[in-house]
């Protein structure tokens, strides 16, 4: 099973639409534990990607590289930079490819997670987007290729459930300390929206 360029473009459309839909939800969630700009960051980034969608090269690696740049250009917020970092990591692995082998997805996600971890200098378990990606990469690795889509969607939910009652220790949310207990991490919420939209769930 492979993910084609067209499938990728369709996924971009779905994620972009989800980010418009979740604009307020993400801003509000980030407002409770940070500066309230996560909806702005995500919608800006996805709008920039949508705008250049038709001109994306056939080389999937190059295409993802340009998607990464859309994020580095449109925002200085942490999440945009982390998204760009993750996309760049996948871009490097896919340079020259015209499609993505589904079997490589768990590794691509794990690779993105690792690069993002390096970028953000934060440990796993800190209640961030890294934990969502970690859950997704493991769940997809354990699933059959046919079930990966469902496994990924379940993983982003499970990550939220597992971390909800733990305190944030990373990023702006860190300064809220114990007050962050019971509140979802905005970055994990955003990744849930991204994963579900990308996988069409």
């Amino acid at each position: 099973m492979t993910i084609t360029r067209d499938m990728l473009l369709a996924a971009i459309d779905r994620v972009a639409a989800a980010m418009e839909r979740d604009f307020d939800m993400l801003n509000t969630a980030d407002g409770a534990l940070g500066d309230g700009d996560l909806g702005v960051t995500m919608s800006r980034g996805m709008r920039a990607i949508s705008a250049m969608k038709d001109d994306l090269p056939d080389d999937i690696g190059m295409a993802l590289f340009q998607c990464a740049q859309a994020f580095t250009k449109s925002s200085g917020s942490s999440y945009g930079t982390l998204m760009a970092t993750g996309l760049m990591s996948a871009a490097k692995a896919l340079r020259g490819a015209q499609s993505i082998d589904v079997a490589s997805v768990p590794d691509l996600i794990a690779g993105a997670r690792d690069k993002m971890q390096e970028r953000g200098k934060a440990d796993l378990g800190g209640k961030t987007v890294l934990d969502s990606l970690d859950y997704v990469s493991r769940a997809t690795a354990e699933a059959d290729t046919g079930d990966m889509v469902v496994a990924a969607a379940q993983a982003v939910d499970k990550a939220l459930d597992d971390f909800r009652d733990r305190p944030a220790t990373v990023g702006r949310a860190r300064i809220f300390g114990e007050k962050s207990i019971g509140l979802d991490d905005p970055g994990m919420l955003a990744m849930r929206s991204v994963v579900k939209a990308a996988t069409g769930q």
Partner: protein, 334 residues
């Protein structure tokens, strides 16, 4: 609530930069298409090591204001209290480079660090060599054992000045970076906040505080400090701030020290001078000689009320670099 003079909050930073460059075309120019990179109007000598900084707006003269001769070459500016993008930082690095490499010199904030790292990767492809020095001088933000987690505050002004002078002297990237690191290591800061400021786009104060309260050790974006309690007298506030700084970086007899008594914005110079009395007494009691005390608004949070102190322990090299000439619209040393 503090009132602000602005138009559309979304345009606060762009209009601020427009006005800054219009008022001081001899010092600053906008670079690139994003409009949020400021470079020296008169670029440094060819072959000079470039120094860039970057960070959120709302701290004038930090960061943009310190672009100038004997200081910084370029600065990437974000929205109020938000990191600039990695692309803007890359642009700042590009314009600052004249072949001798570029030092990234900025405060230890998560977003800024990620973006400057990313920017470094972007310009690597263009064969620009970068080095990094982070300011992490706020003693209230982490204990000494975790000093690398500390936030960067007004100490960066000393680092800008000293690294800038070293670059102006013609030192190479390694040399300038070493000076910046030495300056960063020599600085300790602490702040006390009396009232918040308002981020234009948020439209509400960064924190709430009662009319008779202050917070010791609060960060410049309203990050929690070490205690909140009744507003104390100037002598008490200055005394505790000096206690905390001297506990973190002991000063011995014979030391030469520069000290900055900095307003976070609304607090007037009158009150900084009242505070300075205690600073001077405490340093002289410790046997130190005070060199070039800086009393004024060097690193602010718009109209936040409060003050910060920065101690910078000097050796001969740092002292010479501190006293070397520099020139920008906000600070001039001859």
């Amino acid at each position: 609530m503090m009132k602000k003079i602005l138009n559309n909050p979304e345009h606060y930073v762009d209009e601020m930069l427009e006005g800054l460059v219009a008022a001081h075309p001899e010092y600053y120019r906008l670079h690139g298409d994003g409009g949020k990179v400021v470079a020296r109007a008169k670029p440094g000598k060819d072959g000079k090591v470039g120094i860039v900084t970057g960070g959120g707006s709302g701290h004038l003269p930090v960061f943009t204001g310190y672009v100038g001769t004997g200081l910084l070459d370029a600065c990437a500016i974000g929205d109020v209290f938000s990191s600039p993008s990695a692309e803007q930082m890359a642009d700042a690095i590009r314009v600052a480079d004249s072949g001798a490499g570029v030092l990234r010199l900025y405060g230890n904030y998560g977003g800024d660090v990620m973006n400057f790292d990313m920017a470094g990767e972007l310009v690597e492809f263009e064969d620009i060599t970068c080095s990094t020095v982070l300011l992490a001088d706020d003693v209230a933000s982490a204990p000494p054992e975790e000093h690398e987690k500390r936030r960067g505050v007004a100490g960066m002004v000393y680092a800008f000045k000293m690294a800038g002078a070293a670059a102006e002297e013609g030192r190479d990237l390694e040399g300038v970076t070493a000076v910046a690191q030495k300056a960063a290591d020599a600085c300790r800061s602490i702040g006390a906040a009396l009232s918040p400021c308002t981020v234009p786009q948020a439209g509400k104060p960064t924190f709430e505080i009662a009319d008779d309260e202050m917070e010791m050790g609060m960060g410049i974006h309203g990050e929690p400090g070490v205690w909140r309690g009744k507003l104390q007298t100037a002598d008490q506030i200055a005394g505790e701030m000096m206690d905390r700084l001297l506990a973190d970086m002991p000063i011995s007899s014979g030391d030469r020290v520069s000290v900055m008594v900095n307003s976070l914005g609304a607090t007037p110079p009158e009150e900084l001078y009242i505070l300075y009395r205690t600073v001077k007494v405490r340093l002289e009691e410790a046997g130190a000689t005070i060199v070039m005390p800086l009393v004024g608004r060097y690193a602010t949070s718009m109209e936040m009320a409060g003050a910060s102190f920065t101690l910078c322990k000097l050796d001969e090299e740092l002292e010479n670099l501190l006293q070397a000439p520099c020139d920008c619209a906000f600070w001039r040393v001859e």
